[in-house]
Amino acid sequence: MSAHGDLRDSSGIPIDREGSTLLGRGGEARVWALPASGKALKLLEPHARTPERMRVLEHLVAHAAPLLQGADDERPWGWPEELVFEAGTCVGYTMRAFRQRRTLFSVLVPTERMRVFPAFDARHLHRVGANLARALACLHDANIVVGDVSESNVLVASDASVALVDVDSFQFVDARGELLPCPVGKPELLAPEHHGEFFSATPKTPASDAFSFAVLLFQLLFDGPHPFSGVFREAGPCPTPAEALLAGDYVFAAGSRLSPRLGMPGLGAIHPDIAHAFERTFVAGLHRPELRTSVKTWAELLDRAELGLVRCSRNRAHLHPSAAKACAYCTRADHFGRAFETFAQVNADELPPATRPSMPPPLPAAPAAATIAAPTAAETPETTPRPRRAFTRRIPALYGKRRAHVRDDAAVAEVATEPQTVAPVDARASAPSAPSETVVRAVSRAAAPVLPGSEPRATRPKQREARAPLPAPPQTLERSRALPRYAVFAALVAAFVLGRCTGTRAPEAREASVTSASAVPTTSSTPALTRGSAVLRRDTLTAEKKTPRAPR
């Protein structure tokens, strides 16, 4: 880390970097372990040190204190603790260092998982999902949306506990009541409403997180493949996962242009309720965020499904839902051979208790207009930002009274839209994807009807069958109240502010987003982009960011 000279915290105390090691790197930063303090240091690349970012960090650090007490499991996020300065400029922050953890990527890729967590079985995978869902739900309750729920921002430990990092890309409302958006994300993980040219201007919602979560969970439970990728049934170029996502080609949906990838475990690998929740999210809820399975519901479903797992009688390393007539992994091994085995170790140990993250009293509420701040000078500040040296400007916090936000709307919608019947899962779904029709047929008989009402058939069923809707757990909701008139004015103001924030995208970047489908690797380098265009930043700068490899 020689690139950085003298680093100090906000009180001017030098940061001891003796013996620091690289913990990881992303599109805009490197993260180092500091042995002297036991903390992690996130150093932003110069292009990421934008005024917006500084505002975000200022807010996060000002509200850090209550979020830092407690054990890792209670506060499973790398909340910024201290800002770090170099020659008077803020260049990053310190946070809790999460040791002995791997990114979620290494868990959802089965071959990596077998290397790094060989003792993980299906229970652990369910548990990782449930723990992540709980961490997200906890943040949602505090009016924080993660926005960039991705396999590189979730760190997993061998007890299946999870921690969220990259907190500075979370979306929340700052002390002035302004929404600080999360304009980053990977298209193949982003909900459809955030695709397209204006993605960075569309505020994320708990339902956006629920969508990204479901994509990751699908990969976790099905050995890695993306839910919108598979064998293309039509002629012509196969859509990319991001394109298929927008077109609604969920592999297990009836009428999808994609069928499951060869060698993928069949739907019999998961509990019918989980399969159903995926359908809600990827079919009915694809363009209707309120219909998606909420992270809270996911946590409950996964907990229940984990308890319902039974050990396979043929291969003790396999666990499958008790409802399944055959083990989906054995069925796959029968057809594709043992080379396909993705669970190698029999782990008879009990899992440690699930993590229960909790939140201190909520942070400022997100206004109902979803975007917007409603500044009224009359209101009493709930909190005053902790004075920090670098930010002499003190801003009175103007928020608190209006809690007109919609909470956990997805979960509620499940109750509200009960009568809706759900598209049945295709017969082919219950079989592992097999190389030929004959094999599919043979397997579907063996793999057993996984879902009631979806008996496997020799031919693909044309007709849809209704399935009893999932009994959704009771949910409560604060309905959004009507906006007062001044809020409309405030909405306009904030829209302007947001516009400024997100309109800073460099012209080249705009062009890049338009031509992104053309996929021509170019040898020119792109100028550094600001937070407002961070999606482009993430995607377009990745090739560059890896170039200067740190000596290990």
Binding site: G224, R261, G337, T342, A512, A519, P521, K545
Partner: protein
């Protein structure tokens, strides 16, 4: 029907970045140059294996051309065996080498399609220190066509006395000339570029790192 052995590498569920290295193993490469090339290949390998995402997504094939063409490595994720060019002698059947590379790419992408594995644009990376002694025009047309249809990213790198004029004509992107024997830097650049692609979005334009190994 795809044999399960061919399927096994895909159990990791990851999308693929296919890349063919088309390497000149004609007589002129013998000696210092070949040693530097092999050292470069080793660097490429360690870089790829070092990156958890790259090692699950990038597939490398190797085609050597001299008087004839040999496929010394079929498409696969980086494994334990580092590809090396064992010997260099004979002529420069570059045209045939390129056609073989294109054929491998077609075969591989067809397999991806059958299995249902998403993939990034394939890369063909040509390295030569001479001038083709066979029919290069037909290969050039095939490369140009694949590039125009956005089916391929083609890179040509000349070493030493390579005929740069002819190389440049191969691709719309032109050709690069390697500065001396900087194979290390070349392959470091290649791994950084491929790794960059492997974490990008499929179908997206990825700016590549600075060419610090090129003399142009």
């Amino acid at each position: 029907m795809v044999p399960s052995l061919a399927l096994a590498p895909f159990r990791n569920g990851q999308p693929r970045v296919p890349c063919v290295l088309v390497l000149d193993s004609s007589g002129t490469m013998e000696g210092e140059r070949l040693r530097a090339l092999n050292e470069g290949l080793e660097i490429l390998w360690t870089d790829l294996l070092d990156d958890p995402i790259a090692r699950e997504r990038i597939e490398i094939a190797v085609v050597e051309f001299s008087s004839d063409v040999r496929v010394t490595r079929r498409f696969d994720l980086p494994g334990e065996v580092i590809p090396q060019v064992a010997r260099a002698d004979g002529l420069t059947a570059m045209g045939k080498g390129l056609r073989e590379a294109l054929r491998l790419v077609d075969e591989r992408t067809a397999l991806y399609r059958t299995i249902g594995v998403p993939h990034y644009k394939p890369w063909v990376f040509l390295l030569t220190d001479g001038s083709a002694t066979d029919d290069i025009d037909r290969s050039a047309r095939l490369v140009a066509k694949a590039e125009a249809e956005r089916q391929l990213a083609f890179f040509a790198v000349g070493v030493g006395d390579a005929d740069m004029t002819k190389l440049r004509r191969l691709s719309a992107r032109g050709a690069m000339h390697l500065d001396g024997l900087r194979f290390r830097d070349l392959f470091r650049w290649l791994s950084a570029s491929l790794i960059g692609v492997s974490v990008s979005r499929i179908g997206e334009r990825v700016p590549l790192p600075q060419l610090d190994w090129s003399a142009v």
